[in-house]
C-alpha cells in the first residue's frame, strides 16, 4: 500500500522508550531564528542588487559595486560558520535532527 505522504509519521518522532521529543526548533526558538536570519541574510546580501549597484563611494581605487561583491564573501563565511555551530548546539540539546533546514 502506498504511503500517503505527510500522514501517519508519528512513529518517526518516537524514541525507543516511547517518549516523543520536542522538536529542536521548539526547544531553541532563538537559535533557530538566528540560523534562519544568517542563512537568509547570506543569500539576500548580493541578491538585492540595488544595495550595491553604484560606482560611489569609492574604496581606494575600487568602485563600490566591485568592492562590495568581494567584501561580502568573508561575511558570508562567518555567517555560515556561526549557523553551523548553532545547529550543532540544537542537535545536542534537541536530541534529534537539525532545525533550520
Amino acid at each position: 500500500m502506498p504511503i500517503r505522504p505527510g500522514r501517519d509519521q508519528s512513529v518517526d518522532k518516537t524514541f525507543t522508550d516511547g517518549t516523543t521529543p520536542k522538536t529542536p526548533i521548539a526547544t531553541h526558538p532563538i537559535s533557530s531564528a538566528i540560523i534562519a536570519i544568517l542563512v537568509a541574510g547570506s543569500i539576500l546580501c548580493t541578491l538585492i542588487v540595488p544595495i550595491y549597484a553604484s560606482t560611489t563611494p569609492k574604496i581606494g581605487d575600487w568602485p563600490f559595486f566591485y568592492f562590495y561583491l568581494l567584501a561580502a564573501i568573508p561575511f558570508v563565511v562567518v555567517a555560515l560558520c556561526v549557523a553551523v555551530l548553532l545547529q550543532r548546539r540544537l542537535e545536542t540539546a534537541g536530541e534529534s535532527a537539525e532545525a533550520g533546514e
Binding site: V49, Y66, L69, A72, I73, V76, A79, L80
Partner: protein, 554 residues
C-alpha cells in the same frame, strides 16, 4: 607550431605529465578491497574528508570556464559578468538549506545519483529518467566548455597545426583528452580528487601573483577601473549603443539590476543540483563534512572575483586589447594577458593551471553523467538484474562516451561566448529543482505534475534561448530574454513556468485521486548522520529496513 615559446611549452608539458602520473597513481589511493562496487569507482568509496572535499568540490565548481569565459564576458560586456561572484556567494547558503538532507537520505539508501533519490522518493521511473536525461544533457555543454578553455590557451601558445581540418587542427586538444579519458577510466573519482591538489595549488599561486603583479605593471587599479568605465559608457559605432555596462542599470532591458539578480540566483539554484556537484557531495564521508565545506567553499569566491577582473586588466593593457581585437575572440583575453605580462616560464605555470583546471571538472562531470546513465537508464530500462560489477563497467565506458560527446560539442558548435553554452545547460538543469529539492522537503507535489512542469519548462527554456538574437548572432545569442518588457534570465522564467504547472496539476491530480506512487524514504532519514547498521551489508535496494530507533545526528 612556428611561434611556440619553448620555455612556456616545456613547463606546460612537464606539469601535464605530472598530473597524468598522479591520475594513474590515484587508482591505488585508499584503495578498497572491492573495487567493483559503483560507489568505489564513481564516488571514491564515499570516504573523502573535509580537506580533500574542499579541493575536490572547489576544483569541480571553479573550472576552466571560470578562468576563460567569465573574464571574457567581462571584457566584452562589463559588469554583467560579475554576476558570477554574486552567484557563488548565494550558492552556498542555498545549498546549506538542502544539501545535508540530500547527503543523509542518499547515504541511508545508497543512492549514487540524484535520479536514484527521485526514483525512491516518488516511486516513479519516468521522473527519474527525466532527471537523468536532463543531467546528462546539461553536463555535455559544461564538459565542452572545459575543452573550449583548453583550446583558448593552446591557440595563444601557438600550439596546433595549420591544417584546415577541424580534427587535425585540434590534435593537441584531442591528445590531452584521450589521456584524461584513460586515467578517469582506470582510477574513477580518485583521479580528479588527487589531481585537484596540484591544480588548486597552481591556480592559487598564479592568481595571487597576478593580482599584485599585473595592476602594478599597467598603472594600478584606479587606471584599470577608469579604462573600463570609459570604454563601457562610450558608444560602439557598429551598433549605436554603448559597448556594455560598468554598473548594472535601473532600466527595463539590457544589463539591468534585475537581469543581474535573476542570472545570479538562477545559477546559484542550479549549481548544487548538477550531477557533478552531487557526485562531489555524495563522495564525502559525513554530514558534518558537507556542512564544513559549505562554510569554507565561499573562500573560492574571492579567487573568482579576482579572476573576473582579469577581463578589465586585459582591457586596460593596450597590447592585450589590440591582440584580442585582432583575433575577434574575447575568450583569448586572459591567455593573451598572461602571455604579455608574465615572463615565459610563469606564463607556462599559469597556462598549465588553466589546462589542468579544465581536466579535473571534465573528469568529475563525465563520472557524474556516466553514473546517471548506468543507474537510471541502463539498470532501470535495459538490464534490471545488473550486478554492481557490471554497473561499474558500464559507467566506465559511459564516461568515455560522455567525454567524446563533449568533444564533438566543443568542435562543432560556435565558440564565441561559450558561457552561453553552459548557461543553456544551466537553464535545463534548473528545471529539475522542483522535483529534487522540492522532494527533499515535501511529498506534496504529484509525480506526474512534476514531470509535466519539467517538460513545459524544458521546451519553453530551450525555445527562448534559441530565439535570442544579437547584432552578431541570430540565435543562441544570450541567456536573458525580455518577458513582459523586462530583461530576465531564461532559467528563472522557465522555472516559474515549471513551478506553476507543477502546483496547478498537483491540485488537479489530487482532486482526481491519481495514484501517487510509493515513497521508500522516511522523514528521519533526511537528517541521519550515518547509515543505520541494519542496512550496512546489502548494497542493492531491497525491502525497507525495520524502523531503527531515532538516530542522533553526528
Amino acid at each position: 607550431m612556428s611561434n611556440v615559446n619553448a620555455t612556456t611549452f616545456t613547463i606546460v608539458i612537464v606539469l601535464f605529465a605530472l598530473v597524468t602520473l598522479v591520475g594513474f597513481a590515484a587508482a591505488r589511493w585508499r584503495r578498497a578491497e572491492d573495487m567493483l562496487q559503483l560507489d568505489e569507482w564513481g564516488l571514491g568509496g564515499r570516504r573523502f574528508g573535509t580537506f580533500v572535499s574542499w579541493f575536490l568540490i572547489g576544483g569541480d565548481l571553479y573550472t576552466a570556464y571560470t578562468f576563460i569565459a567569465v573574464p571574457a564576458l567581462i571584457y566584452a560586456s562589463g559588469s554583467i559578468g560579475f554576476y558570477s561572484v554574486s552567484y557563488v556567494i548565494m550558492a552556498y547558503p542555498i545549498a546549506f538549506i538542502f544539501l545535508p538532507r540530500l547527503w543523509s537520505v542518499s547515504r541511508v539508501h545508497d543512492y549514487v545519483t540524484p535520479a536514484d533519490f527521485i526514483r525512491g522518493r516518488y516511486g516513479s521511473r519516468s521522473l527519474a529518467l527525466a532527471n537523468a536525461v536532463t543531467g546528462i544533457l546539461a553536463t555535455l555543454p559544461y564538459v565542452a566548455l572545459q575543452l573550449v578553455g583548453i583550446q583558448a590557451v593552446l591557440s595563444v601558445m601557438g600550439v596546433g597545426t595549420s591544417s584546415t581540418s577541424t580534427w587535425l587542427k585540434d590534435l593537441p586538444l584531442f591528445i590531452a583528452f584521450v589521456v584524461l579519458a584513460i586515467y578517469t577510466f582506470v582510477s574513477g573519482l580518485r583521479a580528479p580528487a588527487s589531481i585537484a591538489f596540484v591544480k588548486d595549488t597552481l591556480v592559487y599561486v598564479f592568481v595571487i601573483v597576478a593580482v599584485f603583479y599585473i595592476p602594478a605593471k599597467i598603472g594600478g587599479w584606479g587606471h584599470i577601473f577608469g579604462v573600463a568605465q570609459t570604454h563601457f559608457t562610450s558608444v560602439n559605432p557598429a551598433t549605436g549603443k554603448p559597448f556594455g555596462t560598468f554598473i548594472p542599470t535601473t532600466k527595463k532591458t539590457g544589463s539591468t539590476q534585475f537581469d543581474f539578480a535573476t542570472l545570479a540566483l538562477g545559477s546559484a539554484l542550479a549549481l548544487f543540483i548538477y550531477p557533478h556537484a552531487v557526485t562531489g557531495t555524495l563522495a564525502t564521508k559525513s554530514r558534518g563534512t558537507i556542512k564544513r565545506n559549505l562554510v569554507l567553499l565561499p573562500v573560492w569566491g574571492v579567487l573568482l572575483g579576482l579572476i573576473a577582473l582579469f577581463g578589465y586588466m586585459a582591457l586596460a593593457d593596450p597590447v592585450t586589447a589590440e591582440k584580442v581585437k585582432k583575433s575577434g575572440n574575447a575568450q583569448l583575453a586572459v591567455p593573451y594577458l598572461l602571455q604579455h605580462m608574465f615572463p615565459s616560464w610563469f606564463a607556462g605555470v599559469a597556462f598549465a593551471a588553466i589546462i589542468i583546471g579544465a581536466l579535473v571538472p571534465a573528469a568529475i562531470m563525465s563520472i557524474g553523467a556516466a553514473n546517471l546513465f548506468t543507474r537510471n537508464i541502463f539498470k532501470e530500462y535495459v538490464r534490471p538484474s545488473a550486478s554492481p560489477k557490471l554497473e561499474t563497467r558500464v559507467s566506465k565506458w559511459a564516461s568515455l562516451v560522455v567525454k567524446f560527446g563533449a568533444l564533438l560539442f566543443a568542435l562543432e558548435l560556435p565558440h564565441t561566448f561559450s558561457i552561453n553554452l553552459q548557461l543553456l545547460g544551466g537553464i535545463w538543469i534548473m528545471q529539475t529543482f522542483p522535483m529534487l529539492v522540492g522532494g527533499l522537503f515535501t511529498r506534496w507535489f504529484h509525480r506526474w505534475a512534476l514531470l509535466a512542469g519539467w517538460l513545459a519548462a524544458m521546451i519553453y527554456g530551450t525555445l527562448a534561448a534559441y530565439n535570442t538574437s544579437s547584432p552578431t548572432a541570430s540565435h543562441w545569442a544570450a541567456s536573458s530574454d525580455i518577458v513582459f518588457g523586462v530583461s530576465i534570465y531564461i532559467g528563472i522564467a522557465a522555472f516559474i513556468v515549471n513551478a506553476a504547472v507543477a502546483v496547478i496539476l498537483t491540485l488537479v491530480l489530487r482532486a482526481f485521486k491519481v495514484a501517487e506512487g510509493a515513497d521508500e524514504t522516511r522523514p528521519y532519514q533526511y537528517t541521519a548522520a550515518a547509515k543505520p547498521a541494519a542496512v550496512l551489508v546489502p548494497a542493492q535496494a531491497g525491502p525497507l529496513p525495520a524502523q531503527p530507533p531515532m538516530s542522533r545526528s553526528q
